[in-house]
């Protein structure tokens, strides 16, 4: 592969140096669309430094969390990748009702789990049986949700608790005071941010400061991103509770630091979605028309630019890739594609790495970013 790349570069250099007029045109071409820094395609994990590709034992998926949480999270020391897996216990055709499939209340349908892949030894084991969603703190502490029961059952809320271990093999301590439906989102310094999913899929962002120390940071809200220093969180409120807005909150006490009413900016923004990224003073977030960049400076939030994806194409989990790109993903009939947007031009194009990849365990070949939304990270404090 390296030899082919070298030959391609050599040929490219020869052609461009031989044709002066063509040289300018070639140089003006935008770079090809790229995937995120680290990503999964089906069971394959790509982009890790020093690793060509890693084959996982199961396909990373998050059926009970969607993209509220990453499918896979590299550890801060780069030793592990923890990822979410799902073992279906019986078929559940989405076109048919449970009654028409003979599924009764209480029947076990699937078992979620968190798996741990050791990049040094290659071992891949079940880490949490009957749980999903995790967050890795900079010092190696790991938080995760574990169900009260291992199986996800028809007509039964999948409730459980959030546990924290100081290290991968440390003792698990329960941080939530009572069982509920939680999804772990990320660490903001020493505080763990999790979702509570209420009736009607109403989302609350909760702050867990330690065992039994739970407070509501934002009701009816989604977490857009955690600031690089981990002290504040940008949350979004949709139009179901008032004018859609983004709000900057101090993690330590929930104080409102700034807000932006989205009805006062470019209408193409519409609403802002959860699970974005924060680099320097710029936040990337999903929006109605694609991706929006917001500048958060001190106690002020302003629209920096909009980036439009193809019409009707929702973009999820946008991540900064270097200084020039923001890359999210969108679902397709074959499992998904990355959408790479240029921060300067605002143009977006699709990237489909491993286009012939096949799905695994009944799932399409999902293309999703693998990342750690927790802050601060090394070099950011």
């Amino acid at each position: 592969m390296a030899r082919m790349t070298f030959l391609s570069c050599l040929l490219f250099a020869l052609v461009t140096s031989a044709c002066g007029a063509a040289k300018k045109e070639v140089a003006a071409q935008p770079p090809p669309p790229r995937p995120p820094a680290v990503y999964t395609v089906g069971r394959t994990l790509l982009g890790l430094p020093g690793q060509d590709r890693v084959e996982l034992s199961a396909a990373p998926v998050t059926p009970l969390a969607g993209w509220l949480t990453p499918v896979a999270v590299p550890s801060p020391d780069a030793r592990y990748v923890a990822y979410n897996a799902w073992r279906q216990l019986r078929e559940d055709d989405p076109a048919l009702s449970w009654e028409d499939q003979g599924i009764a209340a209480g029947d076990p349908l699937a078992r979620p789990s968190i798996r741990l892949h050791d990049l040094e030894t290659g071992s891949d084991r079940t880490y949490v049986d009957g749980g999903f969603s995790l967050a890795w703190r900079g010092d190696g502490a790991i938080a995760y949700f574990k169900g009260a029961e291992r199986e996800y059952r028809a007509g039964v809320r999948y409730v459980g608790d959030v546990f924290v271990r100081d290290s991968v093999d440390g003792q698990a301590r329960r941080w939530t005071p009572r069982a509920d439906r939680y999804v772990v989102a990320g660490w903001a310094g020493p505080t763990l941010l999790v979702y509570r999913v209420r009736a009607g899929e109403a989302l609350d962002v909760l702050a867990l400061d330690g065992p039994g120390k739970r407070r509501t940071l934002a009701s009816n809200a989604g977490l857009v991103a955690i600031s690089p220093d981990g002290t504040s969180a940008l949350v979004e409120h949709g139009p179901e509770t008032g004018p859609p807005q983004v709000v900057l909150l101090a993690v330590s006490n929930g104080a409102k630091l700034a807000s932006l009413d989205l009805t006062t900016v470019d209408p193409s923004v519409g609403v802002v979605g959860y699970s974005g990224d924060w680099q320097g003073d710029i936040v990337a977030a999903p929006s109605a028309s694609g991706i929006v960049l917001l500048r958060v400076a001190g106690r002020r939030i302003e629209l920096a630019r909009t980036m439009r994806a193809a019409a009707g194409q929702g973009v999820a989990e946008p991540r900064f890739v270097g200084a020039s790109s923001v890359t999210g993903w969108t679902s397709t009939s074959s499992g998904g594609a990355f959408v790479d947007c240029d921060r300067v031009t605002g143009r977006c194009a699709r990237a489909v790495p491993l286009p012939t990849a096949r799905g695994a365990e009944g799932f399409p070949a999902w293309r999703r970013p693998a990342y750690n939304p927790s802050r601060p990270q090394e070099g950011e404090q």
Binding site: S97, D100, R181, G200, T241, P364
Partner: protein
């Protein structure tokens, strides 16, 4: 007018409600303005009857977006019906439907209901300056986190009593009489068009 009279005549001469077999359909158009319909038949007659109401669902049209997208397409079993449901977010007259895998083949939408904004005693609690969760104040109340929502009147706005009408029609024309969670399979299903 003549059609309305004919429909009224058909309804008034229809067989007893106990013989009816009913089900919901939901036709997704926009987040704020879609259509919920109750359909029923009198088996073995194939003729079907229906009543429809404006309804909202979600804040985006991505059926896979948890807490944001509208209800995924497909058939749903009904898991229960309450007149005085008393949840933290949803109260009053509600129908609870099964979890559903969305079109991406992976993501499960959960905690799904047909409901309005009212108190557990079917009243209105309108106190705040903008949006009370148990008061139907304005057009944007049709938005939801994913559920189907019907309007109802309140002291601060004169929306039609669609929740009341849907509830009465459900019980009059084939809806299950018992209230609470259904332990057994229920024939009153919901179909969401794609």
């Amino acid at each position: 007018m003549r059609i309305a009279l004919l429909v009224a005549l058909v309804l008034s001469t229809a067989a007893p409600a106990s013989a009816a077999n009913g089900w919901w359909t939901f036709n997704r158009n926009t987040n704020l303005n879609s259509t919920l319909t109750w359909k029923w038949t009198y088996p073995p007659s194939p003729a079907d009857y229906s009543r429809s109401w404006r309804a909202g669902s979600g804040t985006t049209m991505d059926e896979c977006e948890i807490g944001r997208g509208w209800l995924p397409s497909g058939w749903y079993a009904q898991k229960g019906h309450w007149d005085h449901y008393d949840g933290s977010k949803i109260r009053g007259r509600v129908w609870w439907v099964q979890d559903k895998t969305c079109r991406d083949g992976s993501t499960r939408r959960t905690e799904l209901f047909i409901h309005s904004e009212e108190t557990a005693s079917n009243g209105q609690s309108c106190t705040s300056t903008y949006d009370d969760p148990f008061c139907w104040e304005r057009e944007s109340d049709y938005y939801s986190n994913g559920c189907i929502k019907l309007a109802r009147p309140s002291p601060v706005a004169s929306f039609p009593n669609d929740l009341g009408s849907a509830h009465a029609t459900y019980h009059d024309y084939g809806g299950k009489a018992p209230h609470g969670a259904y332990a057994t399979a229920d024939a009153n299903e919901l179909y969401v068009y794609s």
